[in-house]
Subunit: 343 residues, 2 copies
């Protein structure tokens, strides 16, 4: 089958690899229908994160079950299934607490495991990992479901960590797919005031369409002061969705005393936080990779019910063989999120 690998900094390629097969009785093999390129795929692509040449790529995908091991009970051949960006055994103490991303037997798609930007994937712990979707594989619906596997779940995680409540106020920092999904999640959580901070005019407009009440330009030097003024001295809830030093610094600056920062961006080049300000004003930092499996079932129900549609974050489509152009479009910020047509 064909699969995307990272050959070198700036070079992804679609190569022939062996078809995945069942190894453990708890495995499934899934034929991928749609995959996506994630902002975090760009870190190794840009050489900002370690990788091994030949690493498989892609942790966001949706597909059809092709084969299941003898011990798999919750999905069957032919089922439309979603997977979170991390697989997990579902039985350990962390999984029982909903912290699937800390499962000692779990892992992330790609790298040494199968990647989603490919024709098929071997899925360990299929019962715990896969979420069957009881519907036809309608193309419009697939595009609404695909973002749940990572960015939409991560937006929800940011809003959850930040403790956003009905009629509350939240500052969302970052206008990537995660930040935009956090705006959607904040709206769904009942936030009345959603202040979105980004760097791109078109994404700001999309943020507004998705529910942002205020859109601010992060590259403007007066943004922190503007946010402090608009929130009457700082926000109680901040969703940090970029993972950069400047995003975290802005979060700390605009947090109201007693406030909470939910930080879901993969920390990249973040080396320090102003701990004294945390201490002086009782600020809470809740950082965390999203245990997406925890949120998937509810999000799927919302999409099927027609109350949630994160598909506007998908702004570019390429066939699998042209995956390199999708990386370039995202690297150059021409696309918010690229979809890879694998089937």
């Amino acid at each position: 089958m064909r699969a995307t690998v990272l050959e070198d900094v700036g070079t992804v390629r679609v190569v022939e690899v062996p078809d995945p097969v069942l190894v453990e009785p708890t495995d499934a093999v899934v034929r991928v229908m749609l995959a996506a390129v994630c902002g975090s795929d760009l870190w190794p692509y840009r050489g900002q994160e370690k990788f091994t040449p030949g690493d498989r790529m892609g942790h966001e995908w949706i597909g059809i079950v092709e084969d299941v091991g003898a011990a798999v009970g919750s999905v069957r051949r032919g089922d439309l299934v979603l997977a979170p960006f991390a697989f997990a055994d579902g039985t350990c103490a962390y999984c029982r607490d909903g912290l699937f991303t800390s499962c000692p037997h779990g892992g992330f798609w790609g790298g040494g495991h199968d990647g989603g930007q490919a024709e098929a994937v071997r899925v360990p712990f299929a019962d715990a990992t896969l979420v069957p979707v009881q519907t036809d594989a309608d193309p419009v619906l697939l595009r609404r479901l695909l973002p749940l596997t990572d960015v939409m779940a991560t937006g929800v995680h940011a809003i959850t960590l930040a403790g956003v409540r009905p009629s509350g106020t939240v500052v969302v920092i970052g206008d990537g797919a995660v930040g935009l999904c956090a705006v959607l999640a904040a709206k769904a959580a009942g936030a009345e005031r959603i202040l979105a901070v980004g760097r791109h005019r078109d994404r700001g407009q999309l943020a507004q369409r998705l529910g942002a009440t205020d859109v601010l330009d992060a590259s403007h030097s007066g943004t922190a002061a503007d946010l402090l003024e608009r929130t009457g001295g700082g926000a109680a809830c901040i969703a940090e969705c970029a993972g950069t030093q400047s995003a975290l610094d802005l979060a700390v600056t605009v947090a109201r005393p007693g406030g909470t920062i939910g930080s879901v961006g993969v920390p990249n080049g973040v080396h320090s936080v102003d701990l004294y300000r945390f201490f002086r004003h009782n600020i809470t930092l809740r950082a965390g990779v999203t245990p997406a499996r925890r949120y998937l079932q509810t999000l799927v129900e919302q999409v099927l019910a027609g109350t949630l549609d994160p598909s506007p974050v998908l702004t570019c489509d390429v066939p699998l063989d042209e995956v390199a152009s999708a990386y370039r479009a995202m690297d150059e910020r021409r696309a918010i999120k690229a979809v890879v047509q694998t089937a």
Copy 2:
């Protein structure tokens, strides 16, 4: 009257200053009976924190009301009163949320305000700040009450921030007065396993007397591994009561995935945290100066009921004129906490 001032690094002196008088109708003047020297007094004393020569010292004190302004209603001349280490107006949005230490009209004793290591103190916002104690000024009771003003309230804050629950496990880092009080607070919160980490044998013994189930030596290179083993892979709750880089690093290392660090030590020389570990394992950092006024009433009731006695952390007594020897004893770690007899 006599008051302690910081003249230079390493030099505190008792000098004659004008008697405090009522300035605002919301003021009280309190005659101090007992004061204490705090670990955080040592930061400016050691030149590790900025100060202005002549700054008043002392933020832990208990005394008798001598005079009240016309607008004061909750305390009367002759009342035995406690004050938290920060005063606050009691009416602003932060005070109403219990975040007294972020009150825009509040402040900390000492520096440009009156200090507690003196014969008397002018108290702004007396109604909001002072807690009357309905009892005689019995010397044994005074010693049990004095630590509530800062270190005992801070121990409770650490345990509260860390989210300690009945029958839970907590690691307490730091064997200063705050760490020892956090052990007491953890016991009171119903923790079953209290692992105390410090550097002094005698304090470890005291920690055990106060409720620690395990005592570990922070200076031992294997302490982190030992803690991970004793907690089965990390603790869900960590109370960081030192404020140093090594204490915070240890806290991050021994936090269980999904765990919470309550950090109450004044950050001193702390410049970095391993954010990636926070992110990778959904760890929460809740740092904060203690809004002591929030806890005082309950703590006073516990002391009066005989269920709480933090006085064992007071290990040295000096008259006001010899306050310099108390600073030396604490600086040289000969005393855990020194009491200054001001009356």
